[in-house]
Amino acid sequence: MRSSCYPLARRQAFVLLAAIGTAAIAFLPVVGAVQLAGVSLTAWILVILMIVVPVATILVTGNEVD
């Protein structure tokens, strides 16, 4: 039976879920309470997310046929 949603390439779905999942973990209160160099761990995880997500997105969409 055909899915009710259009299919998405597995690597692209992984990047989206990983980005959203990482953000969800970053916002957990227990993570926010940890401090590194006087700054909440939440902020450091989100900073890493800002750098990694665009690079990962370029990698998983670069070969896509238009």
């Binding site: 055909r2 899915s3 009710s4 949603c5 259009y6 299919p7 998405l8 390439a9 597995r10 690597r11 692209q12 990047v15 989206l16 980005a19 959203i20 953000a23 916002f27 209160p29 926010g32 309470a33 401090q35 160099a37 006087g38 700054v39 909440s40 939440t42 902020a43 989100l46 900073v47 997310l49 800002m50 750098i51 997500v53 665009p54 690079v55 990962a56 997105t57 370029i58 998983v60 969409t61 670069g62 070969n63 896509e64 046929v65 238009d66």
Partner: protein
Amino acid sequence: MTLTMVLAYFAVTVLIGWIARRRVRRSTDEYFIAGRSVGTFANSWAFLATMASGGTIMASVGMTLFLGLPYTVSLAAGAPVGFAIASILVARPMRRVGQYTVPDFFNVRFANPVIRWASPIVILIASTVYMVAQLTGSGIIATVLLGWSHETGVIITGVIFVLYTSLGGFLSVTWNDVLQGILMVVMTVAFGVIAVFSVVNFADTFSRAAEQYPSYGMMGGGLPFWSYIGGFVTSAATICVLPHVIMRVYSARNTRSARLSLNYAMILYGVIVLSTALVLAPVATTLSNVEELKPDAIFFALSGNILPPFLQGLLAAAVLAAVMSTTAGLLMACNSAISNDLYARLLRPGASSSQVVRVATLSTWLVGVVAILLALNPPDFLVVLYVAAVGFLASAFFAPMILGIWWRRCTSRGAAAGLLGGVLSFAVAYFFFELPDSTEILIGIPVSFAATIAVSLTGSGPSAEQRALMESAHSSAEHPSPG
């Protein structure tokens, strides 16, 4: 010196608009999406300039100090996730459907009278509020750096960007955006580097800032917990429905170029945000009077302290560039909503290209003047106003857009219910409940998803024509490349 630099910058932007005018006068394709010919390099800088607002550069130093680094990066980190959503879920299907704007896409996908009227009106409201936040920033720059009154600053900068947008349409906005994007990145990075060397030991300054301003580093220092999540969701959900961002997807030479531009722009955006939040904000704590300053004025107080006059002038031009590029993009979204979506589609379907361009030019001035008048009374935190505007937009469009592209069962009635449900729930939450800042979207988007899905499931499914359209938009996605 600062005034000379700013005036020179104004002259260049208007000159670019004048040159672009020759190419766009009689063609709606040229006027609204620059003939779909913008390459990856230009589009990346233009995407950046459109995304990085006055708030990104100027307000984020004060915001980071008083509302905290976690809040600033919550807002900023939502953007790359939003760009990933736009690149992966939206860019290709929308290019394949081949329309100019978000209302254009909704029109061919849903063909629903409620959506046809409501979507351009939502864009007009949200974009105008967003523009007010931007114009307020230009008033602050004029007051702090040029010694003008707030009103003079708002009016002069407002007239300049309305002029170059009305002259050369999207082509003028794009050429100006490239100049403005480069200016923003170069000047922010230069300011950051100079700031690092202006203190004896940057690591010590950073640690001292975190000690003296606990709100700088901690979660919950300046805002309730849900505001951080609201800020993140606002950025993530907004990118793929911001009309001035979507227009850039259409103006790209091809889908691959649009996707690459989105992500290159995101990397450049990260450079700007991290320079201001991780470097400039802690260095700003060394200012003797930082607690007495308005949050949005701290950035220029720091530049006045550590930069020579020539660089202060260039920095002022860079912040004005951030304000003007975003505002010009929003103006294009507004004039497109009025001339393309309301006038040409609903009020006068047989209008010629030159009539549509004329209405677009007039509406640019009309909306620009309204935004200028509204910006004469500034709010305390520009960012809060900006978040409200984009939260309203995302609450209206995100669910119908994503479900309309990816869910086969999504119907026109469902999308209309989702759009209205998102708008109304956001407005009720914003105006009638005392919720923490930036959290209204956490009500608007779920309500919109629920309404779209519930109403779609009660009807008979999308028409054969709508199904065929989306099948063709996804045709090669059915067979994704391996790995």
